[in-house]
Amino acid sequence: MAKDEFEKREFKIVGTRVPRPDGLDKVTGRARYGADMSAPGMLFGYCLRSPHAHARIKSIDTSEAEAMPGVKAVVTRADFTHVPASGGTKDILDNVMAGEKALYDGHTVAAVAANSRSAAKAALKAIKVDYEVLPHVTDVDEAMKPGAPELHQGRQQESVPEGFSQNVLARSQYGHGDVDAGFAKADIIVERSFKTAATHQGYIEPHACLASMGNDNQADLFCCTQGHFMVRNTCADIMGMESGRLRVTASEIGGGFGGKTTVFLEPVALMLSKKSGKPVKMTMSRDEVMRASGPTASTSIDIKIGVKKDGTVTAATGDFRYQSGCFYSMNGALGAMCGFAPYDLENLKTVGWEVVTNRPKAAAYRAPGAPMAAFAVESVMDEIAKELGMDPIDLRLLNGAEEGTKAAYGPTYPAIGLKATLKAAKAHPHWSAPLGENQGRGVGCGFWFNFGGNTSVSLMINPDGTVNLSEGNPDIGGSRASMSMMAAEELGIPYEQIRTIVADTASLGENDVTDGSRVTFAVGLATIKAARHAIEIMKGRAAATWGIDADAVEWVDGAAQPAGPNAGKFPPLTLKDIAATMSKTGGPISGHHEANAEGAGVSFGTHICDTEVDPETGAVKILRYTVFQDAGKAVHPDYVEGQLQGGAVQGIGWALNEEYIYGEDGTLQNAGYLDYRIPVASDLPMIEPVILEIPNPGHPYGVRGVGETGIVPPLATIANAVSRAAGVRMTSLPMSPPKLLAAIKAN
């Protein structure tokens, strides 16, 4: 475990609701998103995509397209001659430009760059692809069976027992104790099977980039991403170039939620630019985003829980089967680790399965793998509470994890906030509010690991005493505001005196992707340490000015002052004073910090939801929704509340209507926002966020990640509310009206 970084302190800026620095640009349209950049002589790039779910590419004839007016480059897989060093990157290359086979509806098989959009689109139609259509599979349970159409050969890991299709790539197991002995002690055992559909992150901004590669093998790439250092490293590996020759700049980002933690267009745009010698801009349509970016896994899960009459869980098992599209992705294992994480269990066994199908490769989606696992586990917990006639919060408090509990995935928890969220939920007026006819209330818990990771921050003192901070993580959750706040807090200067920017890959050290709810924690930690570094330098300058020892200087309220009467009597030197004279006292002053941050601090949440079901149509209305989450120190409460509300909203969509619908032919039937139904504003009540601030010992201010946990409880919470309102247990998501009405009628 990381050393204890936390020190209790009175905050002046952290915890306030200062104006966001990106607000004006975003509301006036001045902000530059992925598609907003242009370059002289720029071409427009488009992809040709497979219309088949699974097909061998026998040949591709691009000659007619290449001869068309305005067409400057056509690329296929044959142009990607370099073999990436990393296996994961090979899969990414196979995903962004199909090799021998097209593995899903929408898989890119060729791309064109031309001097107009219409010329490029006309050229796509002139490319002749000879496909041999192969049998396909899109359902996880079907894909696991021997004899299922197989996507790959020889990729199955040794962990997979015999008797499964080659589509089953990996099996992992977690737990402790003796589940057979545990079930033998149970008075009641509930065993249920669940299914969840694949959903999309639903970010508003489609993927877009502008690539420019010169024949000196130096390149610039501007793109919409959650991690431009990842884009640089991945693209350099695919292109066979040195990463230092590729500079990547992140655009503003119109949502990511995990879906922009990989690349789709970027290597294709670079190859088109390399081949044409011109800058190439590529933008996905919504249809392309739905068909060929990275939705989440669909799942099939079995849960068995045994309890004594007093509610004590004696044993639990879970089998988590996840399909993550056409390449390996660790999702089932995460489900197997997270599903039972809120509980203190003596006997537990969980198994996670990673399965490939003819769908686009899953990308991360906010706490990847965890919401579906929580749906299954928390549904069974609710059924047990109902059977025992027990308050479902009491059942969870009785079995809930706390400091010292051996977690479902192995380690022993430090101080955690699960029970605090449960107690807050129970004490909240929502829990005891009356319900009407056809209404039901659900509760659910959720867990997410959170992450630290590689981080670099630079903090520059300007001659006029203003401060610039460079971070290397695209700001998707308010990090520019949070970093400025933490730097201002540490330096003891006003928030307005600091401007934070997201620096490009050539301007800062390595940074991991904006994921794992890591940025406010890890970049915040590096920001505080960079500020402390600058403070040390400034203290040294003051000491030299006064002719006293640096150890005899302290930093208070934005100024250096002698530490006590023995140090001498000098008027304080403010940051501005020191900045104004820094040229004469030793030159420019900057602080920086680089670390692979540990001590992220796990996070728990409890949600309550009231629903009303129309028993004649199966329509569900969300009446009231309250989120309780351990957020650690909330640096900017507006952003934290937004994260809790946003997680709930995405969960509401996932629970009620969102789903990837595939036809008999394996093609996606609803590639757009008309028939892929994310909630609209009028579908939602005001979602009340309740922030609990249990300090994370791994951060100087007690900060822990908040972005992902909020999407873990909703699927279960809403399913429990709907099941209680409709009087029938719903075990399949989404609970769309046709499905719910059929269940009500069958009851």
Binding site: K121, S285, D287, E616, T617, G618, A619, L656, N657, I661, Q669, N670, L674, D675, R677, P679, V680, S682, D683, S736, P737, P738, L741, A742, K745
Partner: protein
């Protein structure tokens, strides 16, 4: 692609006759989306909104003539039209979003010939007609005869719809339109149902019509005689619901199952009948 703005019906017909690949633009809320998605590539777009009368709602023989360029939101702001045909207006005001309703038109919704068009069932239940202009002059056609199949209309080459006409209202008449969508707005009907009623002074139904959307290749007129002679009591309404369920011929698709759509056809028939009845009674007090 050419963009043309004729100022007379004759000029518009001449353009359409000369160029069979031209497409008519009224509100454009379907056409422009299809153009951008690359689903159609017309040789010309003919904007009819500048033709005299296209944007007017006028009283005619006690009924209402609504120009082909009238936006659905404008219908919602027309108090007298709304008082006569609240069901027609509520259907028109369910299309798309608030922004879309500022541009979209009922005639466009009709000629788009989507089986789920929200403004069409109430027009059919109201016995509305449209005026069609073409190379051989004008003709009036029942609304239900315009769509023939998904995306197909009975309009001939060179023809376009210039207006829709809602007949004069008998006393104690009203209508209602309800649709089922999985969300609360910005969606497409999984089932749509309009009921149009006339009562006598005692509150007994003397005439009833019903129409269903999204449960067949085109809008359906369904026998609503179960309500005639009743005061919209439970038995009559249940009989109407059974008629709706029986008449619905939906398909299984991404938006709903056959069983669901047949069930919900009945549910909406009941609810729309009760809403129309309440309104018709209210109109007589």
């Amino acid at each position: 692609m050419k963009f043309q703005t004729p100022h007379s019906v004759e000029d518009a017909v001449a353009i359409l006759v000369a160029d069979p690949d031209a497409r008519v633009l009224a509100g454009g809320t379907d056409l422009l989306v299809r153009l951008r998605a690359g689903h159609m590539t017309p040789s010309a777009v003919v904007d009819i909104k500048r033709i005299n009368g296209m944007r007017d709602i006028t009283s005619e023989n006690g009924g209402w003539r609504i120009g082909a360029g009238v936006a659905c939101a404008e219908m919602g702001e027309h108090a007298a039209l709304k008082a006569d045909y609240p069901g027609v207006v509520e259907g028109a005001e369910l299309i798309g979003s608030t922004q879309v309703q500022g541009r979209c038109t009922v005639v466009g919704n009709l000629c788009n010939a989507g089986p789920a068009g929200d403004s069409v069932p109430a027009l059919v239940a109201a016995g509305a007609t449209v005026r069609v202009a073409g190379p051989n002059g004008t003709r009036d056609v029942d609304v239900i005869d315009i769509p023939t199949a998904p995306g197909k209309t009975s309009l001939k080459e060179g023809e376009f719809v210039t207006s829709v006409f809602l007949p004069a209202r008998a006393a104690n008449s009203s209508d209602a339109y309800l649709r089922f969508i999985p969300r609360t707005e910005m969606d497409i009907a999984v089932v749509g149902c309009a009921v149009n009623l006339t009562l006598d002074d005692a509150g007994v139904v003397t005439a009833a019509s019903m129409s269903l959307g999204a449960v067949g290749p085109k809008v359906k007129q369904v026998d609503a005689s179960a309500l005639v002679g009743s005061t919209c009591d439970d038995a009559a309404v249940e009989a109407l619901a059974a008629a709706a369920t029986a008449a619905a011929t939906p398909i299984d698709d991404k938006r709903g199952t056959i069983a669901f759509r047949k069930d919900v056809s009945g549910v909406l028939a009941k609810r729309a009948a009760r809403a129309a009845y309440t309104r018709a009674k209210g109109a007589s007090t």
